[in-house]
């Protein structure tokens, strides 16, 4: 009987454990003790511990974060949990995915008073279901030493990459599998127009561009400016990558080994949004959290945690962050509705032009 009784014991333990989850899941509804606010977000989310503690103390609440995969995965989960929301608030949908979130009605509108401080250019949803929190740019990065040693002028814009002098120097990510890859494709579409971007990519292909599927391989395997020490000195990354290289250098360095290409029309601006999930039982707390995210306290914390810019101009910026961060001259933007409508067609056309 040993096996069966051992097994029975285990199932009993499992049943107890499962039952243990039930009160946890319903605890939000009970009025006694601190309530819980759940924030669903992507894996890149970061936050200072004391900033969270401040909010918790002010509202007598426990904030829980669900890091739910990359931005596409997290959004998919939020959409499928519609009606039985996994959380009260969702943060981290960007302008390339915004239409998908809005079409699926996962957000409740919230007219936050803090939106008054935030420039209108960031407000892409007039109904205020998705509220802007931060922005950042996907830009080409280059290895400064490579160009200095060869006396070659670093690229200044997208057009430079197709010149013979830059043959076989560039690595980009596949827009079908990578978020920066998609953003860079959108930069070329915004810059060259729907009529011109495929010609540009054909020229880029003729000039020996390498495509890989993910940012990690592009940056750490192919790019010569990273610690992976690959063979190519130009990569599609973020405008904030050079400051990362300084702050997380080993040994400490004073000058970034890489720089971002910031010429007019060469970067794509990603804006990230927060929204209150439809059907939350904690609407009051959710509103308070959204206000908090838009307030200078939270906004000033973001740059050094997530290496993105705050949308609230009242937030003070850390000097280290400002020193190494290049701000692009005229970043490209594409209407989220157009992205949602054409994403598949643009990727298909790009795949045919560059990979086949």
């Amino acid at each position: 009987m040993k096996a069966i009784s051992k097994y029975g014991l285990f199932m009993a333990a499992l049943a107890v454990a499962l039952a243990g989850c039930a009160p946890a899941a319903t605890a939000r509804a009970t009025p006694s003790g601190p309530r819980t606010l759940t924030v669903m977000t992507h894996d890149s989310f970061a936050l200072s511990a004391d900033v969270k503690a401040e909010f918790e103390a002010a509202h007598n609440v426990t904030v829980q974060f669900l890091l739910s995969g990359d931005s596409g995965e997290a959004l998919g989960k939020a959409i499928l949990a519609y009606g039985q929301p996994l959380a009260d608030v969702f943060y981290g949908v960007d302008n390339t995915f915004l239409s998908r979130a809005l079409d699926e009605n996962i957000f409740e509108a919230y007219n936050s008073p803090l939106l008054a401080d935030i420039p209108d250019v960031f407000e892409l949803d007039p109904q205020r279901r998705a509220l802007p929190v931060n922005y950042g740019d996907v830009c080409l990065n280059y290895d400064k030493a490579y160009f200095a040693e060869r006396g070659l002028r670093p690229p200044a814009n997208l057009e430079d990459l197709v010149l013979p002098a830059y043959r076989d120097l560039t690595v980009v990510e596949n827009p079908a599998t990578s978020s920066p890859g998609m953003a860079f494709l959108l930069a070329t579409i915004g810059h060259f127009g729907e009529d011109g971007y495929l010609n540009y990519w054909a020229a880029l292909r003729a000039n020996g561009v390498v495509v890989v599927n993910d940012w990690e391989t592009a940056y750490y395997t192919e790019f010569s400016g990273s610690s992976g020490a690959g063979p190519r000195p130009i990569v599609v990354s973020y405008g904030s990558s050079p400051p990362f290289e300084v702050i997380y250098a080993d040994p400490p360095i004073t000058d970034a080994p890489t720089a971002a290409v910031t010429g007019a029309g060469s970067c794509f601006r990603q804006i990230e949004f927060v929204g209150i999930l439809t059907g939350t039982p904690n609407r009051d707390l959710a509103e308070a959290w959204v206000d908090f995210m838009l307030s200078p306290r939270f906004q000033a914390d973001m740059p050094l945690q997530m290496f993105v810019f705050p949308v609230n101009p009242n937030a003070a910026l850390d000097p280290t962050f400002v020193k190494y961060l290049a701000v692009p001259d005229a970043p490209v933007s594409v209407d989220p509705k157009a992205i949602a409508a054409n994403r598949e067609a643009w990727i298909e056309a790009w795949t045919a032009a560059v990979l086949r």
């Binding site: 200072s48 490579y146 599927n213 290289e245 080993d250």
Partner: protein
């Protein structure tokens, strides 16, 4: 002779009781979520299910992806067997110092995240890897002669690297318990070594070999990270296409159809295998491994063993060593920083792991991440064995030659055997979304529960547990069980005192599989992991997703720690002795 002994039949109720836990687990945590996500997905199809089916069936792209998926999996499986069989022979027939360590190290690739494996291969074979740099220096070449990243060869090599351990374990451990006197007898009767292998060893190994080939094929068939990271944008499998359709295009109906195709292929394979394996399994006199392994006496044995060890080390251990080395060496000579360039030995990456410089809320000390990983792995081992042992016993009892006419119990056992394999052939992202839509009501609202991790890992580990146990259980001579039954032992006591000691080694193999599968990245991204309890692979992914030498270095350092934890864990499991053949 055995089959003619008439004994009172075991009560079928007992067998049902043994089958039920695994079946219930599968129904609740696999079929229920899968059916729900399929229903939700198809409900989103604008033109109805028929339109989606027509779209997929008519797509040349999908046909191309399917053909490539099958082709690369078949080739990868053949190569893995070609590498694994000699290795299995080595571990089965020879006794030498460091054997246990070698065996443990060969399992380490299994737990490493793909991105880290890519970094390891890149350190060896990349454009600036040791091989290319060495060849360029030796032959005065201007360009790297070896191209690795974004090639078909990279996919094949990585699959062999990941999955050889399956062959080594399933075949090697079974082989080590085959009685060497059978081959000796064939040789004494004049058979050449090749003929003795072909006509004696190979048929006896068939059940374990078939199990290993099947599992390796399914792993390669559903390959995701290797295709994406090492294969590059020109290669796609069904699994990568399902992911792309789900996450980037949110085309759930198409994703669901592709997932079903993948599932049906897995089901077909596993049904074919289950029928085949029940036919080839034969009762054997299993021996204790310590009696069958020989020390390396002759120079020829030493040479053979040396070559085989060298081959395994070059293929499986060298990339690991490159990774470990890279985690303690600075290689910043090419970077454009002011001040003197520093290269050489450093522990900075390991020290940095223990620091939370930016007071980040989601920082986890490495010890805590290891603790989380070990907790999930232990829970997986316990759960997978608790469910898998009784199931394997019922499957083995019903499927082998001793079984009498097929009845309902027998059919159920064989069906469960085949169904248990399905989670391996299921797209992780599909199942992950299935959990979201199905397990959303208390008391089963597990969507954000830390329990979800071991539960999902158990789904993947169960088929390995059952596959490890069934060949060994089937090989037990029914006579032993019957004798015990004659002497008055009930089924449970027969199981405890006959089966368990005889399959002790297989239980260890099963536990090792469950442990390594859980420790690795399986399902790490497909389900919601609470940030308070991130496992080691989750932290590695977080680090390698950020620019900066320290982040990259920390990812490699933590991967090295994961390798050590895995090796030590396996050595510890192997020290447990559940009971060994030869105690009779």
């Amino acid at each position: 002779m055995d089959r003619r002994v008439k004994l009172p039949r075991r009560p079928a109720l007992g067998l049902w009781l043994f089958l039920l836990p695994a079946a219930g687990f599968l129904a609740l945590f696999y079929f229920f979520p899968l059916a729900t996500i399929a229903q939700v997905s198809f409900a989103r199809a604008a033109g109805g299910l028929a339109a989606v089916l027509a779209e997929v069936a008519g797509s040349a792209v999908v046909r191309g992806i399917f053909a490539f998926t099958v082709w690369q999996a078949a080739l990868s499986t053949l190569l893995t067997l070609a590498v694994g069989l000699p290795g299995a022979y080595l571990l089965a027939r020879y006794r030498f110092r460091g054997q246990g360590l070698l065996r443990a190290l060969t399992a380490v690739p299994f737990v490493l995240p793909t991105l880290v494996v890519a970094a390891a291969f890149n350190a060896l074979l990349g454009p600036r890897g040791w091989v290319n740099v060495g060849l360029m220096a030796a032959f005065d070449l201007s360009a790297p002669p070896v191209t690795f990243v974004n090639t078909f060869g990279a996919i094949l090599l990585a699959h062999v690297f990941y999955n050889t351990t399956i062959v080594l374990r399933l075949v090697g451990d079974f082989w080590s318990r085959l009685d060497p006197r059978l081959v000796a007898a064939a040789r004494a009767l004049g058979a050449s070594p090749a003929r003795a292998f072909r006509e004696v060893t190979l048929p006896l190994l068939a059940p374990a070999l078939g199990a290993a080939a099947l599992l390796v094929f399914i792993f390669d068939f559903t390959s995701f990270g290797v295709i994406l990271v090492l294969g590059g944008p020109r290669f796609a499998t069904l699994e990568t296409e399902i992911y792309r359709q789900t996450v980037y295009l949110f085309n759930l109906p198409v994703a669901a159809v592709l997932a079903l195709i993948q599932l049906l292929c897995t089901l077909g394979l596993s049904v074919a295998y289950t029928r085949l394996s029940a036919r080839v399994a034969a009762p054997l006199n299993l021996r204790a491994a310590r009696d069958t392994r020989q020390p390396l006496r002759t120079p020829r044995a030493r040479l053979t063993a040396g070559l085989l060890v060298g081959g395994l080390v070059a293929l499986l251990v060298l990339p690991l060593a490159a990774l470990a080395l890279r985690s303690v060496v600075r290689l910043d000579a090419e970077r454009g920083q002011s001040g003197p360039v520093q290269t050489g030995f450093t522990l900075a990456f390991y020290q940095e792991l223990g620091q939370n410089r930016r007071n980040n809320l989601f920082y986890v000390p490495p010890t805590a991440a290891i603790g989380n990983s070990l907790a999930a792995a232990s829970a997986t081992v316990a759960l997978a064995l608790a469910l898998g042992l009784p199931a394997a016993w019922a499957v083995a009892a019903q499927g082998s030659r001793e079984a009498k006419r097929p009845d309902a119990t027998s059919a159920a056992a064989l069906a469960l055997d085949a169904l248990l394999l399905l989670p391996l052939g299921t797209s992780a992202v599909t199942l992950g979304l299935g959990f979201i839509v199905a397990l959303d009501t208390p008391p089963l609202d597990l969507r954000a529960s830390p329990l979800l991790l071991p539960l999902a890992h158990t789904l993947v580990a169960l088929p390995f547990v059952v596959r490890s146990l069934v060949p060994a259980l089937r090989s037990i001579r029914p006579r032993l069980r019957q004798a015990a039954a004659m002497l008055g032992a009930g089924p449970a006591r027969v199981w405890r005192e006959i089966d368990l000691p005889l399959v002790g080694r297989a239980v260890i193999v099963a536990a090792t599989f469950a442990f390594t599968l859980s420790l690795g990245e399986f399902g790490a991204t497909a389900i919601i992991a609470r940030p308070e309890h991130p496992t080691v692979p989750v932290v590695i992914y977080r680090l390698i997703g950020l620019p900066g030498a320290l982040n990259y270095g920390q990812a490699l350092a933590l991967s090295t720690i994961l390798m050590v934890v895995c090796t030590v864990g396996i050595l510890a499991i192997e020290r447990l002795r559940v009971g060994e053949v030869g105690e009779f």
